[in-house]
Symmetry: C2
Subunit: 132 residues, 2 copies
């Protein structure tokens, strides 16, 4: 409960790795996977996904790889989590309302307050705060 997924962690690890290099040098999937002991194919998928979201860009061919494309200090953590993992919310009903209890739920409003607190907390931090 309340955990980050591997996909998010792998994304952040990769971003931090790339950020420590000069701006135009690229990092291959294999390089990152072996360095951090991440399953290659999963990392590949993760990086493809981030490329599609325009966070990083792919350079094809030999000596290719990925490099950072977006301004990481302009992406807050709430946005980032949603880009990588989809909708964010403590309970389903905050983004997808098919809950059996919703008709009679007596805790939705109080939980929404907590949810807002949490999301505000993530909004107050940028990806750069982590990768720096």
């Amino acid at each position: 409960m309340l955990k980050l997924t591997r996909k998010v962690e792998y994304s952040l690890i990769a971003l931090r790795h790339m950020q420590r290099k000069s701006i135009d040098s690229v990092s291959s999937t294999k390089e990152i996977a072996t360095h951090y002991n991440i399953p290659l194919e999963i990392l590949a998928k993760t990086l493809q996904h981030m490329a599609k979201e325009n966070i990083i860009e792919a350079i094809n061919g030999p000596r290719g790889g990925y490099r950072i494309k977006a301004k990481l200090n302009n992406i807050n953590l709430a946005e980032f989590f949603e880009k990588v993992e989809g909708p964010l919310g403590l309970s389903d009903c905050f983004y997808d309302a098919n809950c059996m209890q919703i008709e009679h739920c007596n805790i939705r409003t109080p939980i929404q307050r907590i949810n807002d607190n949490m999301i505000n907390m993530f909004r107050s931090m940028s990806v750069q705060d982590i990768t720096n």
Copy 2:
């Protein structure tokens, strides 16, 4: 990702339900389950668990059920989540360190900061803040 479990929601729904009654009246599992459309057996398990944690107490026999035992304003949400769901943490390595990346992980420290923020947020609210 980052969602509460049903067990936590059912627990809170039940607590709020009980809190709205006079202090010594009891609520049966069936009463709560039908009122909120929660699967009976699951709710039963959930209530048994809270009873074992001394949050509520069970009254056996006909006309039995559960009633609140603990002072809900003395239990903060971080404690509560841990009582109901077990250890709390954004990543496994904060309570159970068998992660393949831990040797070379470059994001553990920054994520720990976020983790601390989150847990402090939960510590700053009591169960009563939700059930009231």
